[in-house]
């Protein structure tokens, strides 16, 4: 949801850029139109957000909704401020718990998707092994991985390891499945071209197969990035000593719903930063793809 919003503002910004020459021409005809900041789509969407938050605040206060059910926006802002104005090691602060969660997310994402990609590459080069494993991969993919989270916590304990493991499980499959699909979708003509030049299997992989599969692999990585945040929070809910998920549980125990909302905001920001970083890398690596085409593959 948040990533979708981010993508939307991105595309709005770029379409604004593209439209600038005709807009510049319009200035001369009607100088007043450009002067009105309300005409900008970006400003309008910010105003919309402000209006929604204002309506929330007003509704909560007007209908006297109990604070432990739905807190007013101002409470969330105060909780956010209180949580952020702490030292990095303060056990009740966002920085300490956020640091733990981000560490889990990064480790789990990197290991899980790394292993998924590696196995995807190896399996794709061996069609017989791929055919052998395919039904199991499909079956395992439909197992809801979060269901095994309690078992993993029993196995690996309340430390960071069990959370990393859960995220690995969640990120492994999308990257494995998309990379296998990506290698399967490589245009056989490209392989023939390399073969006609007497290329070695490694050259064929490096110069044709891998770059061809990259759009698919990035689609898997984008999914994995979103899953990794979910995995961290679920893992921390099940059993942990630190992390933003733990903080949410603690706050809920004290009926501090405003605080829980504030932690959710922090988690959203982590998710947005992670996916936009990934998108930036993707845009650089897949620079040769037309912008709309790369977007389409990601959504597919």
């Amino acid at each position: 949801m948040t990533t979708a919003m981010l993508a939307k503002t991105d595309s709005v910004a770029s379409s604004d850029d593209r439209a600038s020459p005709p807009a510049a021409a319009a200035i001369q005809a009607k100088p007043k139109r450009r002067a009105n900041p309300l005409a900008s789509t970006r400003v309008q969407s910010i105003l919309l957000l402000a209006a929604l938050l204002g309506a929330w605040e007003a509704a909560v206060r007007l209908f006297k909704v109990p604070q432990h059910l739905v807190p007013p926006v101002s409470d969330i802002v105060v909780a956010l401020w209180r949580g952020l104005a702490t030292g990095p090691l303060a056990k009740d602060g966002f920085w300490y718990h956020g640091g733990v969660t981000v560490t889990e997310i990064l480790l789990g994402f990197l290991i899980g998707s790394g292993v998924g990609l590696a196995i995807g590459i190896v399996v794709s080069q061996m069609p017989k092994v791929e055919a052998l494993l395919e039904p199991y991969v499909a079956a395992l993919q439909s197992v809801p991985k979060v269901a095994v989270a309690p078992i993993i916590v029993v196995w690996l304990g309340f430390g960071i390891g069990s959370k990393v493991m859960i995220i690995c499980l969640l990120t492994f499959f999308p990257v494995l499945v998309t990379s296998i699909a990506g290698f399967k979708a490589v245009d056989p003509d490209r392989i023939d071209l390399l073969r006609s030049l007497s290329a070695t299997p490694w050259q064929i992989f490096r110069k044709a197969k891998f770059p061809s599969a990259l759009p698919y692999i990035f689609a898997g990585l984008n999914m994995a990035a979103a899953f990794s945040v979910v995995g961290a929070v679920v893992g921390e809910f099940v059993g942990a000593q630190a992390g933003l998920g733990v903080l949410i549980l603690q706050m809920e125990a004290q009926a501090d719903t405003g605080g829980s909302f504030a932690v959710c905001v922090v988690l959203s920001v982590i998710g947005i930063v992670l996916s936009s970083l990934l998108r930036r890398i993707q845009r650089r690596v897949l620079h040769w793809m037309p912008a709309d085409a790369s977007q389409r593959t990601v959504n597919a």
Partner: protein, 272 residues
């Protein structure tokens, strides 16, 4: 390699051994095992070094299969295919292939695409770059070196793929319906350019097409194939002077050759 360079520029005048490429009793099946469809049957022919041979036939006559066998991309069943005195076993470094589509790698610039064979075959980058620039000049793509394939038209992409096929200076150029996807105007221009490139480089060219005028215009000899199973129906020498211009199409020899191929086609079609 050296003889190749010496011959360069003399074009059609320079001829080598008459059985540079020799195909004897070639039959091959499509699909795995023995139960596949018979794709080629009892093909026998020779191709002279430095000559331009066109193979024409209706779709499904196995002409692409024949080309893939010559390129070493496909194993053949019965018979013998000898190239420059050696039986074909897999792909060879002295062969360049131009496919139906340009197959440019979309993440590489035109120059990088043309230099691909150098990377694969281990030709030093500097030398390859120089040659790539020359070839891009020859196919009239100066100024497009650093563009991505999708920024070029279909005709330009196919010209880049011809430059790529020539980069490692192959002795034999195999072309599988290279201009099939182009519009008629571009196609005529590409035919003229290909003739020029061939005359400048002096290579042995085998070109597959389903266009009779293209086959007659380009070929020293036209191999006419019949479909299912693909057999070599006829070899037709085209006695027209080089370089040929598009005006040659109104020449009586051209008309006679086209007509006789067309008759073969309608004859073959009656079997369907």
């Amino acid at each position: 390699m050296n003889t190749n360079h010496e011959r360069a520029g003399t074009g059609a005048g320079a001829r080598g051994r008459p059985d540079y490429i020799r195909i004897e009793g070639l039959s091959t099946h499509f699909g795995d095992g023995g139960e596949g469809v018979l794709a080629l049957k009892d093909i026998d022919c020779s191709i002279e070094q430095g000559s331009f041979v066109t193979i024409v036939g209706p779709s499904g006559c196995g002409k692409s299969t024949l080309l893939r066998i010559l390129a070493g991309l496909l194993d053949y069943g019965i018979g013998r295919v000898v190239l420059d005195g050696q039986p074909i076993q897999g792909t060879r470094r002295d062969v360049g292939v131009v496919f139906q589509s340009s197959i440019l790698l979309p993440w590489r610039t035109i120059l990088e695409n043309v230099m691909l064979p150098a990377e694969v075959l281990g030709i030093p980058a500097k030398q390859a770059r120089e040659r790539a620039m020359q070839l891009l000049h020859m196919v009239r793509l100066d100024g497009f070196e650093h563009k991505l394939p999708r920024q070029l038209s279909g005709g330009m992409q196919q010209r880049a793929s011809i430059a790529r096929a020539l980069l490692h200076d192959p002795k034999i150029l195999l072309m599988d319906e290279p201009f099939g996807a182009l519009d008629a105007m571009t196609r005529e221009r590409m035919n003229l350019e290909l003739q020029r490139i061939w005359m400048e480089s002096g290579k042995t060219v085998v070109l597959i097409t389903h266009s009779i005028p293209e086959a007659v215009f380009l070929g020293d000899r036209v191999f006419v194939m019949s479909p299912r199973p693909g057999t070599l129906e006829r070899v037709l020498p085209i006695d027209l002077p080089r370089p040929r211009s598009m005006d040659v199409m109104s020449h009586p020899t051209f008309a006679a050759a086209s007509l006789s191929i067309r008759e073969r086609f309608s004859h073959a079609a009656s079997f369907d």
